[in-house]
Symmetry: C2
Subunit: 899 residues, 2 copies
């Protein structure tokens, strides 16, 4: 691999030379070049290029894996191919890969978004057309009204379930987890992409109160991942992992941006929703891609003659000169506070429904069997209630989500009874009017019904988000308050002569931003609202309401996405709460696990075996010795398994047999030589006797180990895998089947005995099981050779006195999974995400008392001197001063730790 890279670089170097000659005789040169390329195969391993390599830095890196068609036949074709290669190189190297990538991503997502919108619109039109065509018979109408969404949702649920169950739901919680550095299996595949796009189109086409924002974040990330894989055909940079994460972050922005044609809001929303720490240097990526995407998305509408020019998606036409009076601000604040409670209630309700369905064993069993029944039932219920001639007439049931939003943001006042001629409930606005019922009642009913419907609908296992439904509900609530204000102050509040009537549409804008902000715990919904409506005149009311809503909601409930993360048990680190300053006073020593599994540098394979059997940690600490406990690094479990399988593998056994045989032969041919060493040395005869017991013991432990394997996927909860479990190198697994030793079997297979007996009895391997066991025992007592082992020489280290706050910061900044706690180089504990999560959640609920040991308050909370460290070092120093043998004092306590 390395040699290959060098050869390719040599080729690239020659190509680089060509640049220099370009102005001379291109035709002649192209021929030369082609001839050289053809010969390239023969003289690949030429060493002379080594000293020239420093000249072709950045350029060659891109093409290392490109795999150009080097097999050329004629000079003409050579020329063309050389030109192509050069053009390609130029394009890739000069324009900047990030740009190309982001533009492609933006373009792709804009097309997807537009296509999805187009299909949804057609679906909704079809439903209306069916419903309208059957207006002679109410029952038929009802059937059409109900059957259509049920079929669509059922199809969506079934399709997603079959193709890629990972596509279910919003996707933002999962993206948050992925951007945290966790690899979710099958989450960014083409299958998921197809399932998500088609599933989402059908789900939204059904007219259920579902949104497209969350799924679009996921779709954009899918797009980015697939595009990244595609682009990696052209250049090596696309394989860098940290770059991929950066691109995924940009993709999240694109997802929101092209969904609402809101580039700025998209970037901010995606940052707030997915990131803990944000690298400002990646900021432009999101803006660039989201702007391009939003631009193309809106240009498509213009080209499709839907719009005359590029405008906002839900354009409002509020008056500019006096958008609101100062004295209306309390009303806006009320909207904010009420939205905060509403948002928390929504999250709570959503979680309650999921948990209720999970807990009810009977329902659950039935629903699990008929997986499509639950979506169908929910859809039936919701669409029955919204049936326009039925209950739907009291809640504007015939309006689609989009139509409802447009009417709610209308700049006219509905409730102004006096001036009826101003307002004649044109078009969709008619839906809000009912001959018997007041418009206030309609609005209240709309809010209440849509509220639980949305909370219920978002639990259906189809690709769907909750942002848009919540947004509409918020708008309706704002409208309700606005209309009330308009009814209360028919001539406006302003007293200085000029009459400025109240604009209920502005209240709707404020309500929408506040409620969606409360549910998602974001402030950037304010920006989204401005970009959606194309007006920023209500900026202060919106900001005030959103901030108040956030303050209330964040103190009551987690955000919807965090709630889903908890429900799905995704490995995510919760945020530190607002102003919980006790966290500055909890230390790592209070939360760390002191009983660390470790291996020593001079351990034998038996220790390795035992450590692997008794724990299921992904990585193990490597210390210098059990006495010193000086941390040297960490080793992945897979590496250790490989080491063990190598040591006990068939290959080595065969070699051993061969050597034995050779020695035997030699001994036979040379009678003077001493007899060959016995196959098994007698030094550990005790262990030999206890082999059967040991194996028995191992087998029982085996059964406790097995639950760590990936369990079969359950519906509603996509399977989740941590990277190192996923990335267990396939050669190890395959190696097991070949080199099946007994101890290895114990480690890797669920039922080792049967296989072991079968496999090892036959073939040229003429050792008995007994002999193999003995040989293995002998092998296990050898010292481990770590020289071929990948060791991470700098696992992240904390000290005992690191505060919880700092630990949290470091974990989220660096995306850590665990960190070792050291004291002057000695390993004394380990903190993993689990402990940290426990500590944070514990302290959030009970204000620190749970995790804080009784003596924590003794500690000086300032930065000043630390007696612990001093005494610790003092010990070490004393030892150094007084002792001849280093590290004898610490032996006793570290021996305790090593069980």
């Amino acid at each position: 691999m390395a040699g290959d890279g060098v050869d390719q670089r040599a080729l690239q170097y020659e190509q680089t030379l060509m640049y220099g000659r370009y102005t001379q005789e291109l035709g002649v040169y192209a021929k030369e070049e082609a001839a050289r390329l053809r010969e390239g195969g023969q003289r690949r391993s030429v060493g002379r290029s080594l000293d020239l390599l420093e000249y072709d830095k950045g350029r060659c890196a891109k093409c290392r894996r490109s795999g150009y068609p080097w097999v050329l036949e004629a000079p003409a074709r050579d020329f063309i191919s050389v030109c192509t290669v050069r053009c390609q190189k130029f394009l890739i190297s000069r324009v900047g890969e990030d740009w190309i990538f982001l533009i492609l991503l933006g373009l792709l997502m804009a097309l997807v978004s537009w296509a999805v919108d187009f299909c949804i619109a057609i679906c909704l039109q079809a439903q209306k057309w069916m419903y309208g065509g059957l207006d002679s018979n109410v029952f038929l109408q009802y059937l059409a009204w109900v059957t259509y969404p049920v079929v669509l949702i059922t199809f969506s649920a079934g399709f997603t379930q079959i193709l890629a169950p990972q596509a279910v739901g919003s996707g933002i919680p999962e993206m948050k987890t992925i951007l945290r550095g966790v690899v979710l299996k099958e989450y960014l595949t083409f299958k998921t992409f197809v399932a998500k796009v088609i599933g989402l189109t059908c789900a939204l086409g059904s007219g259920m109160p579902l949104g497209k924002e969350g799924p679009f974040v996921h779709i954009a990330s899918l797009c980015a991942a697939l595009l990244s894989r595609f682009m990696s055909l052209f250049g090596g940079i696309y394989e860098n992992e940290s770059r991929n994460i950066e691109m995924l972050a940009a993709a999240c922005a694109v997802g929101v941006g092209c969904c609402f044609a809101a580039p700025i809001g998209g970037v901010l929303f995606s940052i707030e929703v997915t990131s803990t720490f944000f690298a400002v240097r990646n900021y432009w990526r999101g803006f660039f891609a989201a702007t391009f995407s939003a631009f193309i998305f809106r240009v498509l509408a213009v080209w499709n003659r839907d719009e005359e020019t590029i405008t906002a998606l839900f354009k409002t036409r509020f008056r500019l000169d006096f958008p609101f009076d100062l004295q209306e601000l309390p009303a806006f604040a009320v909207i904010g506070i009420a939205s905060g409670f509403g948002g928390a209630l929504f999250v709570y309700l959503n979680r309650l429904i999921v948990q209720f369905i999970r807990k009810q064993k009977a329902i659950n069993k039935f629903l699990m069997k008929k997986r499509l029944l639950y979506p169908a039932l929910v859809t039936l219920l919701v669409s029955t209630l919204t049936f326009p001639p039925g209950f739907g007439q009291f809640m504007a049931g015939k309006l689609t989500q989009k139509e409802a939003l447009v009417t709610l943001l209308d700049n006219r006042t509905w409730a102004k009874q006096g001036i009826a001629e101003d307002f004649d409930y044109l078009g969709h606005l008619q839906a809000w009017q009912h001959p018997q019922v007041n418009v206030f009642v309609t609005l209240v009913l709309f809010i209440v019904m849509k509220f639980w419907m949305s909370a219920l609908a978002t639990t259906i296992p189809v690709p769907c988000g909750a942002f848009m439904p919540v947004f509409v509900i918020g708008a309706a609530f704002g409208r309700l308050v606005g209309e009330s204000m308009a009814a209360w102050f028919p001539d406006g509040i302003h007293t200085d002569g000029v009459i400025y009537p109240i604009v209920p549409g502005g209240y709707a804008v404020v309500g929408a931003a506040a409620l969606s902000g409360a549910v998602t715990h974001t402030v950037s919904t304010a920006v989204i609202v401005f970009e959606l409506t194309g007006q920023i005149s209500h900026i202060l009311p919106v900001m005030i309401a959103v901030i108040l809503a956030n303050a209330v909601a964040q103190s009551l409930q987690p955000s919807l996405y965090d709630s889903i993360i908890r429900i799905k048990k995704l490995p995510y680190l919760p945020e530190l709460g607002w102003g919980h300053h006790e966290k500055y006073n909890i230390r790592v020593e209070d939360i760390m696990v002191r009983d660390v599994r470790y291996i020593t540098l001079n351990c034998c394979y038996r220790d390795l075996h035992n450590v692997l059997l008794t724990g299921n940690l992904k990585t193990l600490a490597l210390v210098e010795s059990a006495e010193s406990m000086i941390l040297l690094g960490s080793i992945e479990r897979a590496q250790l398994q490989a080491l063990l399988s190598q040591q006990l593998g068939r290959a080595r056994r065969m070699e051993y047999i061969r050597e034995n045989a050779m020695a035997f032969k030699k001994c036979m041919s040379d009678p003077e030589s001493p007899p060959p060493p016995p196959p098994v040395e007698d030094t550990n005869s005790q262990q030999r006797h206890s082999t059967q017991e040991v194996r028995f013991q191992i087998t029982t432990e085996e059964s406790t180990l097995s639950p760590t394997r990936p369990t079969p996927q359950k519906p509603l909860k996509p399977a989740l895998k941590r990277p190192s479990v996923v990335d267990r190198p396939p050669e190890i697994l395959t190696a097991n089947n070949d080199n099946s030793g007994i101890a290895l079997k114990n480690l890797f297979c669920a039922n080792p005995d049967a296989e072991a007996l079968e496999d090892d009895g036959d073939t040229e391997d003429d050792m008995t099981i007994r002999e193999i066991a003995e040989w293995e025992e002998q092998q296990l007592d050898e010292q481990v050779n770590f020289s071929n082992c990948k060791i991470d020489p700098a696992p992240f280290q904390l000290v005992e006195r690191t505060s919880l706050h700092k630990t949290h910061t470091i974990f989220s900044l660096l995306g850590l999974d665990h960190a070792y706690v050291t004291s002057i180089g000695r390993l004394i504990g380990v903190v993993s995400l689990k402990e940290l999560r426990k500590a944070i959640e514990g302290s959030v609920t009970v204000k620190g008392t749970k995790v804080r040991p009784p003596l924590a308050s003794f500690r000086d909370s300032g930065t000043s001197s630390s007696e612990n460290e001093a005494t610790e070092l003092h010990k070490l120093w004393d030892r150094h001063k007084s002792m001849s043998l280093p590290r004898e004092h610490t032996q006793s306590d570290s021996d305790e730790k090593s069980q």
Copy 2:
């Protein structure tokens, strides 16, 4: 200190108990309590409270430093004070300190901003009034026009220079550095606050092309720092350093927010301009404070009857239904690209002027002598050129910045020659009209003149920013393009029947955002523009132009703030450039300093002395031994100095003399006992002989050491100090004067000989200099006792193969100053900000060739196995296996390092 803390906690505990009894008999209890408090002084050291301490966790932390008036006389007063205390505690603990702080900060800044604006308006009006009143005589008019700003600017420069030279300039570069974790001396003091506010008001009142945004960021930070100090009177949490940084970040947002009444843009701009990594959990702070501040700022305008209601600062009235045509987008893109070049040119020009003035020795000397001459001259030049009856008539010279911006954003078209009746150059618009000269010429002249004037004016040493001037120039440029477009397409571009004329004001908005974005390298100017104008209809053109401008400007020049950081040589880490993926392939081992200064655990004071003399690092690495090089921690220089001064101090010498005398007496009285040990042991007689030489050598080294002391402050460049240099504990410095030993003198004083001779000859200290030197030599050979020393047990560690990219990320994430490079626990190098900066700047300019060693390209850029680590560990493993004495192999190479 620690004991005191315990006592106070005991007091607090009693107060906590009071809560429990509140419902019983409050009056009785208050008396008891008061009595107990009065007795408090006597029984402070009572140990019984220790076991109860676990109950008074979070509550007591706040009041520890509150200093309530405990001296009470009557029960009534007791009761009142207890109530007051309780109320105070309730207020502080319940409402949440962050809220209160942010609200106060917002309120304060809004008031400051409004007051400054008010004063500036008065100043400008006064100038106009003077100029208008003298319209009979052009010469007098000129005098008035010129003298007024010259006086104001000179006053501002002088006032700032005298009171606080740190207030000069924008403040954003300094805030960026402070938020990076560097302590800039005197930067956040009340003096600076006063100087900045008054200086800024005068500077802007002069009518020079200067801005208030940058200074307001600084003023808000000053406010936050002062408020924080004030609030810390009420609670301990305000003293937490990481919290202070969070609050400063919020303050930056407030600064921009209340300057432009742009809360969202303020938050985003401040993030982009000051942060590298942003913690999303702090997001709300900025939004909350900035919104509140912007709200109050605009409410003040309403209360002052300037506005009818809360609106945008520069409200535009573009049409909503068809803001721009799709085919105008290329023109917007052209504005973006041209602005990018213009922005880069502005930064270059600004730097050029500063460097020119610095380099020209003759000018420089003269200007430095008469510090106020330079501002006066520049002001004279600028105001002469803008004199309205003179050259100013061709460049709208009589308009203030604000007026110019309002006219430029006007929604009418100036150049539409046909429809003259639509447009009659009303009010300020008249300034753009000239009877002889076309409006295009006026605009071009305005742009060109203001461009260099702004670049020049921002180099004046007064508190001023460059954002607003650049914003106005950008608006003028946009207007120019817009007017050209309007002249080119008089009936608009749209061809579908309806005539939509082109809106040049929209172009002005785009131009303003693009140019200011290019100069500051931010995208959020787009948001600021929307909030400033109150219209978001041009979002896509603005976004496109801003992104293009950023792309162009960022590839040509650093941002204005980074440029100032470089000019002022502030300790800041530059950003990694866009898409320079070579950085993923540079490793720490390529840039680290291998010759690390370290001290070993068993070193003697002489080593300490030498290490302190030969280097001027802030912290030194502590390793186990020179052979093992296992990193144990790092110690601050000041700590080591304290250790040394303790060892060689007068107190110990006195003790030694006393002991000697005692022994001598004892010996005299008891003739059988052996003679007392000689004052100086003879084991190191060689060293004793070379004392004089050593001292001489030390003295010469002293002179090379002295430049590390704070140099006298130069004008234009505020003195800068790193925290540990500042925080050298005063007791050490004072200790020097008392305990002046010779070696210590060498270390701390500039001219030690004279003082040493004087001081040590007299008083009861009856040792000769010779004896002292001998005694010190003896002391220096003792082993260091680290037990009373503060040691950081976990300095940040990297490994050789950490990439530059990751190193940069970690340094900027964690605000590091230096990090040790270790290999399996062994210290092998150190990387400081300096090396990192060099590596990044080297690679940014020459694409990695400078810092990349020739063999770097051989390395596998992937994440896969690392031979280095394996071989390194292999060595260690071999050693363990083969050797009886650990770490003998490594001795040879580590000995080389230890010189």
